[in-house]
Symmetry: C2
Subunit: 301 residues, 2 copies
């Protein structure tokens, strides 16, 4: 049974849905201000330093846990439909991940839509990866992680890295990833009554802004239309009550078929990006701990 503490993310999401419902003409700025509070439900990791940096032209924030192994990096891409969210809203959740792994996190403030539609986000993520390599970081000591749209991005960046002929990072950890720009997953309907935030309307609106003039079948915008061969090991975590559940399920099948070491874990009764509960509810801490346990040996830790 879901912990009492995990209710806080439901309360947060209900508040957003209510605010959006009460203000159908909500501006982009207002929506961004709303989603800036995503991290309010996350406990403070503590013992982590945060240093803003220009990562090869991409604004970013280092999250550096005390006594971590600074030769290992997780590149983190925040969620928010490629439209909202930032390195600030996701500071704590990615701080928890870095602390659990014992490495640095590079939290990207990649360019967002509608000002910068696809492929700006994935281009920025590749730029930051090149910047790490140019700085002497070894690809086998780098992994990626991200939530929601950032879960898509932490996956598509690997496909772009592959296509660019760059060496591949060691692993990827998508959290509640959004892959399907056609919104064709069955769980969009079957989990609609349980998911407190992610409904077809908001997804369609964000997909439109993100895609711009690109096709919803563009293989770097929607990896369900890409060949997944050559991807490093992928460990996806998703909540059982999510409308995006089927994005993860379909990606897993495709990845396995392409010979990728892929793993999916569904956390019962959990909401979209329940990882935000880290430091505040056991389910969040459990998920982060499982990611860390899985990825540490892959990074040589």
């Amino acid at each position: 049974m879901a912990s009492m503490q995990s209710d806080s993310i439901k309360v947060l999401y209900r508040g957003w849905v209510e605010a959006m419902g009460a203000n159908p003409e909500m501006t982009l700025d207002e929506m961004r201000t709303l989603f800036d509070h995503w991290g309010d439900v996350t406990g403070e990791p503590g013992g982590v330093d945060y240093i803003e940096v220009d990562a090869g032209g991409v604004p970013a924030m280092w999250a550096i846990p005390k006594d971590c192994n600074e030769d290992r990096v997780v590149i983190c891409t925040h969620g928010g439909g490629y439209v909202v969210g930032s390195m600030y809203s996701h500071r704590k959740v990615f701080g928890h991940l870095a602390k659990a792994i014992g490495c640095r996190a590079l939290i990207l403030n990649y360019r967002c839509a509608p000002e910068y539609p696809h492929p700006a986000p994935v281009e920025d993520a590749v730029l930051s990866y090149r910047w790490l390599l140019d700085d002497g970081m070894k690809p086998e000591h780098i992994c990626t992680a991200g939530d929601s749209a950032g879960g898509g991005l932490c996956t598509t960046v690997l496909l772009a890295i592959r296509d660019a002929g760059l060496p591949m990072p060691a692993a990827a950890m998508p959290m509640s990833p959004w892959y399907d720009m056609e919104l064709s997953g069955g769980s969009l309907i079957t989990n609609a009554a349980k998911d407190e935030l992610v409904q077809e309307g908001i997804l369609a609106s964000m997909a439109e802004m993100f895609l711009g003039s690109a096709s919803p079948q563009d293989p770097l915008a929607n990896p369900l239309y890409n060949d997944l061969a050559g991807l490093p090991p992928v460990y996806i975590q998703v909540g059982g009550d999510e409308t995006l559940l089927d994005d993860a399920v379909r990606f897993l099948d495709m990845a396995k078929e392409a010979g990728v070491e892929a793993k999916l874990e569904v956390f019962p009764e959990m909401q979209h990006v329940f990882h935000f509960l880290a430091g505040a509810a056991p389910e969040g801490d459990d998920a982060i701990a499982k990611f860390a346990e899985w990825v540490r040996p892959k990074l040589g830790l």
Copy 2:
């Protein structure tokens, strides 16, 4: 008239009062978790790095705005009745202050009551000041700031510094300071209906924990019983709707009588530590900007 955005701090406080009312047996841990969310109403300053440090035995966090003058420091003491709050809950509000001044902030995680009653907080603050001096910082390039109980502490630390024969910092900026451990201010009654958070009950409970075996007239716990001569310039900001308004008014009179350059500004219709609205409502930004404008020349900036 108060801005619409400034309502968020009223909503926060009402939520706390409701939660405490619904759970009269609330544990200390639960109360601390509640107050950990103080900073949720604050906008992210941005362009500020946060680095945890051992400040002479006192856990602390540097807030370092990009391109600031690192030779100038504001020592920041958080509020929360000497019982709750932390360097994390106040990260953003003190980040705003440091950014506006163009200096570093040293945000203290001083020992709190009831585990560590008076004089632990003021002793920790003095330790951190000695640590800065030992590190080569000039006293005339250091100022103090703090809110609520931390507003008391950013004042009493100066009295302790004076008593220890140490050179005096350049200035102090108490925000909605709590000085009076006897709870004898008239505004406790006259503003009771307007103040959404600070009522006699919570103050009495916190004073008891903070004082431990000390007297409510202890001159380092309650500066209204101290001689204020020798203090550097003090600029107090307080909300017009605060029950603690009279703490500031009485301190101002005493300071002026003792020959201190003292200034008080009352912000109409504002709640306790409305400075938390920085980055989110004009009143918060205005208050921070006024502090910065006042203190910059005193720090030689």
